[in-house]
């Protein structure tokens, strides 16, 4: 990792010196190794605080919405999984491609500080400490890049990302209800999921808009807890790249990605496999149709 970070820094400095880029979007060292945070670096001096280590799981693509509005080009460090989000944001005109220099960085799989806390990392396998999202890694390939930094990638057969969805589906309706009630009732409406989500990029969220008729700053009851997360998942359905950031940042450890993955699983099954952000200018399955699509009554047939 040390080497990769060095290569990134060198390249960033060169580009900054040549004036091709105005700033760098990367990760800034934190107090400890496990808490780097996303940051803009406007000068070579500031770049001294740049880091790229095992805890740089954060997806930077969403910050480019703001960067697109700034003067000049921004260099952004994009891991393979982040590249999907970036493509999606470009497709939706939220990020101006012209204003971005995409530096594709390799990723060996990122660690989960909660899993590593108090552990001796030399014990056990790296797999045991990886972020959940890395266990379902989409692969080492970047879907968008201006330049690529070579380096080690994650060597791990990805898990079936729908396994948990299937497990839930196999439960009885009451069990499913109880499961979700148990999870969602812990929501404190901190909005971390929304703020980190690259697909949740509305200039104003309906839940913050007093004129929307559904605004709610804090969930007052069970229903509003459900409502917020169902609607959020629906709004990003067909656009969610399954980057897993929502669950990663949730302070309550609610498995929010299981909502998104349910939509993805259903979309794949009913309308053909679709990976949002695979390439720019894709047509999301929710703004598309086939005359032969399954009827809702047929799609809902079966148990439960």
């Amino acid at each position: 990792m040390q080497g990769t970070a060095q290569l990134i820094l060198e390249r960033a400095r060169e580009l900054m010196q040549s004036g091709q880029i105005q700033r760098v979007l990367g990760w800034e060292k934190g107090e400890f190794e496990h808490d780097p945070t996303p940051a803009f670096f406007e000068s070579e001096e500031e770049l001294q605080n740049f880091c790229y280590n095992d805890y740089c799981g954060a997806n930077l693509s969403k910050y480019l919405i703001a960067a697109s509005k700034l003067e000049g080009k921004t260099l952004v460090c994009i891991k393979p999984c982040d590249s999907y989000s970036l493509n999606q944001l470009i497709t939706e005109h939220r990020v101006n491609r012209e204003k971005v220099f995409v530096l594709a960085v390799p990723c060996p799989g990122m660690l989960d500080p909660v899993k590593t806390e108090g552990k001796d990392l030399s014990q056990g396998e790296r797999k045991d400490y990886l972020l959940d999202k890395c266990l379902c890694c989409k692969g080492a390939e970047h879907k968008i890049a201006d330049e690529t930094i070579e380096g080690p990638s994650l060597d791990l057969a990805p898990e079936d990302r729908f396994a948990q969805v299937r497990e839930l589906e196999a439960l009885s309706p009451q069990e499913r209800f109880d499961f979700w009630r148990g999870e969602l009732s812990r929501c404190i409406r901190c909005n971390a999921c929304r703020n980190v989500c690259p697909a949740c990029s509305c200039v104003k969220c309906v839940f913050d808009n007093p004129n929307s008729g559904v605004s709610s700053k804090a969930s007052a009851d069970d229903f509003e807890e459900n409502m917020f997360h169902i609607i959020r998942a629906f709004h990003v359905a067909g656009r969610c790249t399954d980057c897993g950031e929502c669950s990663r940042v949730c302070p309550q450890r609610i498995p929010l990605h299981l909502l998104n993955r349910k939509f993805i699983a259903d979309i794949d099954e009913l309308y053909g496999e679709y990976q949002a952000g695979e390439e720019a200018e894709q047509r999301s399955p929710l703004v598309n149709y086939q005359t032969t699509d399954k009827e809702p009554s047929d799609a809902l047939k079966g148990r439960g």
Binding site: K69, E92, H93, R94, S201, C202, V203, K204, C205, V206, N209, N211, S212, G213, V214, H235, V236, R283, S284, L286, V287, N288
Partner: protein, 661 residues
């Protein structure tokens, strides 16, 4: 502060019977915002409307709720009423307490309670209504008629007569349609060709009419007053402008195995052919399936004999676009396939024919030169059995559930013509009912019985089968309580009629609705019988429902007058209930643009100024003249920037809240 008036209509006893209208009006008085609530026997009447107008003025109403019949019935009426009283017409909402309440609920308590909830929902909605201004869109002064049968021809003639240009698109090589195939017409027995062909010639010679034959509509876009239609004119392999219709090519053509469509396949025609002598345009056409030159490259006889040099084997389909203000569907009908009715032996004996085939056999220009002979052996028949309702009024799934309407009369006509020309032929007609509602119709049928001695048998045939050179017709005679086994020489089946199969595709292109039988649906079954629910699309002839020639001609004229009424306007008032984008909220993500069926949404880079915002953003804009107000965009918009006027998010949620309270 909103001041809402509620007006509860009795609709005579239609509403006031199962709903306690006074209680509804009383209950509404306590709803916040309602300042006036009253009832009247007929709100839609002159007096009812003046009461609303007076109340608007007297109570300075800002919104009106009428609890009455369906908004599909009188929403416009009451909008105009409000407008006359100085209120914006879009400040009116209707609570449907007739079709969706009083007519389906017998219990007065239940009906009244539901009416109150529906009224409250309407009040909740109207409180959030905003005054809307309708825009305008221009009208292209040209009409398209699809189908060149008697319906299409008459419609086109009438439109042209009013001075507007009109195109007829006909899928076969000639106009004329089914009527051109008929021998005589009931109840006057005048010759079909004699009354139709002059109209065909009129259409051909009319400067305002462009006949596009051997063509079909491929795509329709746009909206009332402004349709863009893509037309494909199939290759005839004959230059229409050069061909004189001399027929020399037909005499020389060596390929003589094509089924003669005009004679219902009773005889053959050549590969190059003119469908019939009076065809319009009187121009030959080459059937590529039969032509040796086109199939094998060898032959070319027609090209050699054509002195006009009209043959062009290299001709290709021509596809072009035209603009129209109005479109008339006149796609007509065909007799049903009789595959599901093998008990009548149609596929097993040539001497079992359909009525339309019989029409050709009786026609002097038909395959037998008008001689009544059996198709199997050319012998003169002595006993003919007619069977009515073959596939009509059939709910078993084999046929059509409706009455085909014309069969009783044409069967009486056939029976009478046979008896008149060949008194030695005995004619029997199996019937379920004889339906003759029309001027001089029953008299006509009775003449067949009383004067011509046609044997009408009340009953139905179970089976027809050949035995020797006879056909055995086994059926019931319900009046005499017998099962009959008649020996016949010919059997004529009055096959049900169904909409031409091309109509289904056309309906999809026109977004015009169809009923379960694929007949076009009219905007209102009684009050708007020649209009489709899709604005600017009109209906003429059997494509809307079974009808005979006089009815078809009457409907064709009615459709034409509706078209003329539309084309006479320079501008149309557009529906103001269209989508609108709130630029302050728009993300510019383009999701809405992708679902818009009309291409009404575009994007601009724009400086956005709002509370705490000042930046250039990409935002959606809706063209209100093109938007039709479906609302597809509103649901794709996650931020709620896109909303639909008249059916806004807040309005619909207010209705939801009121209903669930």
């Amino acid at each position: 502060m909103q001041r809402i008036g509620v007006f509860v209509c009795w609709c005579g006893s239609n509403i006031a019977g199962p709903v306690d209208v006074e209680r509804v009006a009383e209950a509404m008085k306590s709803v916040p915002g309602v300042v006036h609530s009253t009832t009247y026997q007929y709100m839609c009447s002159e007096v009812g409307q003046s009461r609303i107008m007076e109340a608007i003025k007297e109570h300075q109403l800002t919104g009106v709720v009428v609890c009455s019949c369906s908004p599909r019935m009188h929403e416009n009426t009451f909008r105009k009423t409000a407008q006359r009283a100085g209120l914006n017409p879009y400040m009116v909402e209707i609570a449907n307490i007739r079709e969706q309440c009083s007519w389906i609920h017998k219990d007065k308590e239940v009906g009244t309670q539901k009416a109150i909830v529906l009224a409250k929902a309407a009040v909740a909605k109207v409180m959030l209504n905003t005054p809307l201004q309708a825009g305008t869109s221009p009208v292209i002064k040209r009409a398209l008629v699809i189908g060149g049968g008697i319906a299409g021809i008459q419609t086109a003639l009438d439109i042209a007569d009013a001075g507007y240009e009109v195109d007829i698109v006909e899928k076969s090589p000639t106009i004329g349609g089914r009527m051109a195939q008929l021998d005589k017409t009931f109840p006057t027995l005048d010759c079909s060709a004699c009354i139709l062909t002059p109209k065909m010639v009129d259409a051909a010679q009319n400067e305002k009419i462009d006949i596009i034959s051997y063509a079909q509509v491929e795509k329709v876009s746009g909206f009332v007053g402004n349709f863009t239609v893509t037309i494909r004119k199939k290759a005839r392999f004959v230059d229409e402008l050069k061909c004189t219709g001399c027929g020399a090519c037909m005499e020389k053509c060596p390929s003589k195995k094509g089924k003669n469509e005009f004679n219902m396949g009773l005889n053959n025609r050549t590969a190059i052919y003119i469908p019939f002598a009076q065809a319009i345009p009187n121009v030959a056409v080459i059937d590529p399936e039969q032509c040796l030159k086109l199939k094998t490259g060898k032959c070319g006889l027609c090209e050699r004999v054509c002195s006009a040099g009209a043959i062009n084997y290299k001709q290709e389909d021509e596809v072009f676009e035209r603009q129209y203000g109005a479109i008339v569907a006149a796609t007509g009908f065909k007799p049903i396939d009789l595959d599901a009715f093998d008990e009548y032996g149609y596929s097993q004996s040539k001497d079992v024919v359909t009525s339309l085939e019989f029409e050709r056999i009786m026609n002097a220009a038909g395959p037998t030169g008008g001689q009544l002979v059996r198709p199997s052996d050319g012998k003169h028949p002595h006993e003919i059995v007619f069977i009515q309702c073959v596939g009509s009024r059939d709910t078993s799934g084999c046929g059509k559930p409706y009455c085909s309407k014309i069969c009783c009369m044409y069967t009486a006509k056939h029976a009478m013509l046979v008896r008149d020309k060949y008194p030695d032929v005995n004619v029997h007609v199996f019937y379920i009912d004889v339906r003759t509602p029309g001027k001089n119709f029953d008299e006509f049928y009775r003449r067949a019985v009383e004067q011509y001695g046609v044997d009408y048998i009340k009953g139905m045939v179970g089976k027809v089968f050949p035995e020797g050179d006879k056909l055995i017709v086994q059926g019931s005679d319900l009046i005499n309580g017998k099962q009959l086994a008649l020996q016949a020489d010919m059997v004529v089946l009055a096959a049900a009629i169904e909409p031409d199969p091309s109509a289904r595709k056309l309906a999809t292109m026109l977004t015009a609705s169809m009923d379960t039988n694929d007949f076009f649906t009219e905007a209102h079954p009684k009050l708007r019988p020649v209009e489709s629910p899709t604005a600017g699309v009109f209906l003429s002839g059997v494509c809307q429902g079974p009808k005979d020639i006089p009815e078809t001609v009457a409907q064709a004229g009615a459709a034409a007058s509706k078209v003329i009424g539309l084309l006479a306007k320079d501008h149309l008032v557009t529906n103001p209930c269209v989508a609108q984008s709130n630029e302050l909220l728009c993300n510019g993500c383009s999701q809405c643009e992708r679902v818009c069926p009309y291409g009404a949404i575009s994007y601009v880079e724009k400086e956005i100024r709002g509370p705490g915002v000042r930046e250039v953003r990409r935002v959606a804009q809706v063209n209100p003249a093109v938007c039709q107000g479906c609302g597809a965009c509103t649901v794709t918009c996650p931020s709620g920037a896109m909303d639909l006027q008249g059916f806004s998010n807040l309005q619909i949620m207010a209705e939801v809240d009121a209903i669930c309270k």
